[in-house]
Structure formats: C-alpha cells, structure tokens
C-alpha cells in the first residue's frame, strides 16, 4: 500500500562517520548543478522568446572572436572541477583508511548471503552487529562471484572479490538498525542478499558479543589452531618436524623475502594465498612443495587459520590487524 507522505523517505539517514562528509559534497554538487541547469534554462528561454522568428528584435552583433568566451567557460568549470575532485578524493581516502585500532570483523560473501564472524568466534548470517563510536574494519572475501557490501546509511560500499581480501572501514555514529544490500549483481537472488547492520552502544555490544547462542564458544584463533592441526599444517610448520618449512611464529606483518629477490609483507592476503595457492609466492630458500588447499579449506576456515597465525605474533592477547589495503594484486 502507498504509505502516507510523512513516511516517504527522500533522503537516507546519516549513521556513519563518513556520511556527513559525503553528504556535504553531494549538496555542493546539487547546488552547482541546479545553478548551471537553471542558468542555462533561463538563458535559453530568453533567447527563444526574444529571437523567435516572428519577433523583430535587433539581430546585428559585433564581430567577435569566440576564443575569449571559449577559454573562459572552459577554465572556470575546470577550476571548480579541480576543487570538487580534491575534496572528493580526500574524503574517499579518509573513509577507506582503517583506523589503527580498528576491530576486525570477517565477512565472506557467497550466493546469496553474508557470513560474518567476529574475532571471539561469534557468528552471524546476513546481519552485522557493531559498536557505536569504535572503529571497525570489515575484512571481506567472496567464496564464489563478485559481491558488494553496501551500507547506505554510512554512504559506503566496497566490492567483495573472490581470490582477494578487500575491506570496508567505518565508525558507526548513531545506534540503530540500518540496511545492508548486496550491490554487485551476483545471480538469481542478488536482491535478496540483504541484511541489517545493528549499531549498538558499547556495553550492549559487549553483552551481545559474549552472549551464548551456540556460536562464539571459542575465538577464531582457537578454531584456527584446531584447523592448523586437522589440516596437518603443523606437520611441516610445527616445531621439530624435520621438514624444511618457514616458521610462522611472528611472521604476521613482517617482511618476507621471496625467490626472485623481491620482498613482500606477510599480511592477510599473503597468508591466504600461501594456503590456497601455495606455489605463487614461495619464500626464498625453500622448495615449492607446499600443496594447495584450494577446495579443501573454505574461505571462512582460511580466515580462522590466519587469525591463529596472527596470534603467534604475540603472547596471549588477540593480535591487532594490519590494515587490509584495497588495491588490486593479481
């Protein structure tokens, strides 16, 4: 049924830290566009009326070179556009740069739902619970096709791509319930791949995080440790194995020398690729004998194993994450 006029939304609410900044640029653009459109409309209408073929207005004009006018009405827009570009770029860069103390939350998109895991093991499908006022970084990958995680109330989205990790960084600013929508066509039920983001006050969020609902009995790192044994990773990478394999203690975040002389940072992407596409970037001095676990270890399990490896960097406290950069690395 058609809702009453007061119920019709004309503008989305602002609930994330980047939303007001994006809206500011948006309104500036609306202002400039309206000015231009109305201006052009007025000028053209005046010309149409004044110089219609039945009117006897004065039609003689000075011979003028178009160059001055052309240069002017090219340069002025160019200056305005440069300003808009810089403004937009700055806001975009800030919005996508994760805070140093951001809480990582792991998202796997697949046809046709969102699979979300919190560090303590709490697991949700479709929805996302986050604390208000604390920075969060979603670390995302797809198990099949390209999806896109879109939160209109935050004015942010980012593609979720198979084979790589991408991220979305934000701080919720207002408690409430906000739509999440898949925003990259992914098949039959693309439009049903939706959910809700619940922004909660920090104490309520902690209670939710610790609630016993069957999930969250063990942290991602603990699950990862079990998988590390189940999949026999410890058979080569554990201590005293007799197999020449790189030690993983403290590896996360450090620079790793590769065969061929380059160095790479052992971040989430590198660890994922090492597990699922073993021989792509082999550490210098080691033979490429690690098998690929593609098809055996799921994306969720890979995230848990990586959480475990991260925990090897430091004693017991959960490790802080490296920011996951959104650059394409084939």
């Amino acid at each position: 049924m058609i809702p009453g006029l007061a119920d019709i939304p004309f503008f989305p609410e602002e609930a994330g830290n980047s939303a007001p900044q994006v809206d500011a640029i948006y309104w500036a653009l609306v202002g400039i566009s309206t000015l231009m459109t109305v201006g052009l409309f007025v000028v053209i209408t005046c010309f149409l009326i004044r110089y219609r073929h039945t009117s006897e207005a004065n039609r003689t004009m000075l011979r003028l070179s178009p160059t001055y006018l052309e240069v002017t009405w090219s340069t002025i827009p160019m200056i305005i556009f440069t300003g808009l570009f810089v403004w937009g770029a700055v806001v975009f860069v800030k919005a996508n740069r994760p805070a140093r103390n951001a809480t990582p939350i792991y998202v796997v998109g697949q046809q046709w739902y969102w699979d979300v895991r919190h560090q303590n093991g709490r697991h949700e499908i479709g929805d996302l619970h986050v604390p208000v006022g604390q920075p969060v970084q979603l670390i995302m990958t797809s198990a099949d096709v390209i999806h896109d995680y879109y939160i209109p109330a935050f004015r942010q989205k980012y593609d979720v791509v198979p084979g790589k990790y991408t991220s979305l960084s934000f701080t919720a600013t207002k408690p409430g319930k906000y739509r999440i929508l898949c925003s990259q066509y992914c098949g039959t039920d693309h439009s049903l791949m939706t959910g809700y983001l619940f922004a909660m006050r920090p104490d309520a969020y902690q209670r939710w995080l610790q609630a016993k609902d069957g999930t969250g009995t063990e942290s991602m790192a603990e699950t990862g440790a079990q998988l590390f044994r189940t999949f026999s990773c410890s058979g080569c990478h554990g201590e005293n194995t007799g197999v020449h394999a790189p030690s993983l203690a403290g590896i996360y975040g450090n620079s790793v020398p590769l065969q061929g002389g380059q160095f790479v940072t052992a971040d989430d992407q590198y660890l994922r690729d090492s597990i699922l596409r073993a021989s792509a970037q082999v550490v210098a001095g080691y033979k490429p004998i690690m098998p690929s676990y593609q098809g055996q270890i799921s994306e969720e399990q890979a995230m848990q194993i990586i959480a475990y490896i991260k925990s090897l960097s430091q004693p017991p406290a959960p490790a802080a994450s490296l920011p996951v950069p959104n650059s394409s690395t084939p």
Binding site: S279, A280, P330
Partner: protein, 215 residues
Amino acid sequence: MPRESASHIPEQFESRAQQEEADALGIWTFLSTEILFFGGLILSYSVYRVSYHAGFAEASQHLYFWIGTINTFILLTSSLCMALAVHSIHDGDVAKLRRYLVLTFIFGAAFLGLKLCEYYLDYREHLVPSVNFDPSHFLHPHAAELFLFLYFAMTGLHAIHMTLGLSALTYLYFRARRGDFSQEYHSPVKVVGLYWHFVDIVWVFLYPMLYLINN
C-alpha cells in the same frame, strides 16, 4: 555490375588515384583494429607474466622450442615471397606475381601444418587446459595452466588469421590468372600484402613472448 578490372573504376570513385588512396587508408585502418584485437591478448599475457614470473618461465620450457623457431623462419620467408609478389606486379610481371603468390601460399601452409603438428605434440604431453592438462608436471601448476590457456588462445587466433590470409592469397591468384592486375592497377595485391606482413609481425611478437622466456 561490372567487375573490378584493369580498366574499370568503380562508380563511387572519380579516379584511379582516389581508389588507390582509399584502398591504402582502408587497409591501414583495418590493421590498426587488428593491433587492438591482438593487443587485448598481449596485455592479458603481460599482466600475468609479471605476476607469475617463475610459473610462466617454467611452463614455457615445455613448449616445442624448435618447432616455434623453424616456423618463425618459414613465416619470414613467406613474407619475403609476398613482398616479391608485390614488387613483380609493380613492374607489370603477372607471371612472376602468380609464382610468388604460390610460394607465399606454400610457406604459409607449411607454417600451419607445422603448427598443427605442434598442437598434436602438445596434446600428447598433456599440455592442453580443459582437455588433458596434467598439473603434476609443474612446480607452479596454476600459472602453467594460465600460460597454456594464453598460448593456445594467442597462437590459435594467429592461425585463424593465417588461414584467412591463405584464402586471400587464393583469391588473388585466381584474379591474377584472369588478368585483373597490371602495372597500372594492382591495389588488391598491395592490400593483401600489407595484411600478410602484419600477421607475420604479430608472430614476431608472439614467438619471443611464448618461446623465449626463462628465469
């Protein structure tokens, strides 16, 4: 409608010179589209060559280097024959034109024949993705599969262009036999000649990219 011949200028043109100018610009424009066409494949190859440097080098070792090299010489020789064909009719010698067209065709067909043999040998070695690719031959099986996919796509596309070139040569031969070409008018020969040289140049890029890389 009267056929193009040594005496007839098509209705839309005002002069022979205009027709020749149009033919030349036409073939050059067409070749520029071909550069972009192959360019997409070459770009894809280059992107993965950088990412999978070692894997590509390893996979390249499994190709039949000597077949590729002999084929390169065959193709260059065929281009020489084609150039001589154009030169002949430029001097008005139709008999020589026909002979060189036949030679060009023979070398071109030899190239394709060897290529087919090579594909068969590749098949025997389990190098064909999706058909019988055996990853166990490789330290970097994923990169090898990407390399081989591109190898078959690039050389396959080139072979299709060669086949079309052979058809064009056949067409030229029969028109030459009918007396369509002379010193004054032999534009189609020049057009096919440019096409043939272009296909040769594409191979000159493909050969080192596919056969000559190593760590």
